[in-house]
Amino acid sequence: MATLRDIQRRIRSVQSTQKITRAMKLVAAAKLRRAQERILAARPYASKMAELLGNLVSAADSGEGAPHPLLEQREGPRRQIVIITADRGLAGAFNSNVLRNSLAFVRMSNATALTLVVVGRKARDFYRRRPFTVKRDMVGFWDRLAYSHACELADLFMAQYLEGEVDEVHLIYNEFRSVAVQRPVRQQLLPIPKTEARADAGPPVDYIYEPSAQAILGDLLPRHVRMQVFRALMESLAGEYGARMTAMEAATKNAKDMIEILTIQYNKARQEKITKELLDIVGGAEALKQGAEA
């Protein structure tokens, strides 16, 4: 049976943990809001570009000439997988979901022709301990995530792809569905899937092109790839904060429940102690009285 002081100590310990989890929850909530705003702010550019891309790809389909190299489907075996996680934990299953998912896909791939790119400390540490070729890692940038980070990654992928070092590039990251729901998704980045490229085509427009439709498409595709990477990074960041907020809210609630249980235990123990002391006193007084009578 725990002594009163032990219980008190535990209550205090849980209380201070609760303070931390509550603070983390508030911080995550504030950062989540900012991350969500950024996703919204990027939408005008992203949606317009998707539309232009659709129109141009559809137009290019009917035209002559070879398709753009970034659209060309190759049959090579060399696959690159990009795994995006957070730098930090304490975000529920956020990181482990992506890592588990990626490991399954990695194992399915041809090991000799596989390279990895790991984004986020958790992914880096996870794959460092395993026998895979990590081509590049990128950590410690989440707090100042900018479009330039996406460009750096995307340009690396495209350079390798165009050089023929890799034949396909896939992203695995947490998609931000809602504050409480993040889902690991896999997306083929390169070659750009044709169905995806065409998906947002509006009604055909008879543009005057300058310099030419094909040249504009050539300019647009790399930007599309950069934007896809940027979007994946922003979704992952918002997802991380969402997951951390949910996890910390649960932790705060658990701490509260625990404090309640411990408080009840404490009161019970205190009452028992008082009762015991009373009995001792009464018993002692009884004994004295009997001693005096005798």
């Binding site: 702010a41 550019y45 232009l52 996406a150 543009y207 300058e210 310099p211 940027f230």
Partner: protein, 136 residues
């Protein structure tokens, strides 16, 4: 036909300008082009230059670099890699960038230079200085 056109300027991270304007002059890859209401559907890549738009008699400017411009149904949509409004331009920094690029191009620094990159940097710096020098 509307008597005004809608101008939207967006970068990957935000929508910078969204406004009804009377006229827009955009730096296309093959030169500046003006857009007035009733313009034909037009799609071009952007060069590095100064975007000018006019609302009534009020003329405003922004430095843009790289991207696309679509004109359609009295709507001008500029998707640029970077957009800087006059208030956001740091004149001293642009001057330093200009000097650095000039020095590289003249070959005096002795570094192994990437000519195209230096030339683009110079063009961007000059455009920034031009935009920031406009009467506000």
């Amino acid at each position: 036909m509307a008597d005004r056109i809608t101008l939207e300027v967006a970068t990957p991270s935000r929508l910078v300008i969204g406004e009804q304007v009377d006229e827009a002059v955009v730096p296309g890859i093959e030169g500046y082009f003006g857009v007035l209401p009733g313009h034909a559907a037009f799609l071009t890549t952007l060069g590095i230059g100064e975007l000018t738009y006019r609302i009534g008699r009020d003329e405003r400017h922004a430095a843009v670099a790289g991207g696309f411009c679509e004109v359609r149904n009295d709507k001008v949509i500029v998707l640029a890699d970077t957009v800087e409004l006059p208030a956001e331009i740091d004149r001293a920094r642009a001057e330093r960038a200009r000097d650095r690029a000039e020095q590289r191009l003249s070959g005096r620094s002795g570094e192994d230079i990437d000519y195209a990159r230096a030339a683009a940097a110079l063009a961007r710096a000059l455009v920034r200085l031009q935009v920031v020098a406009r009467p506000q």
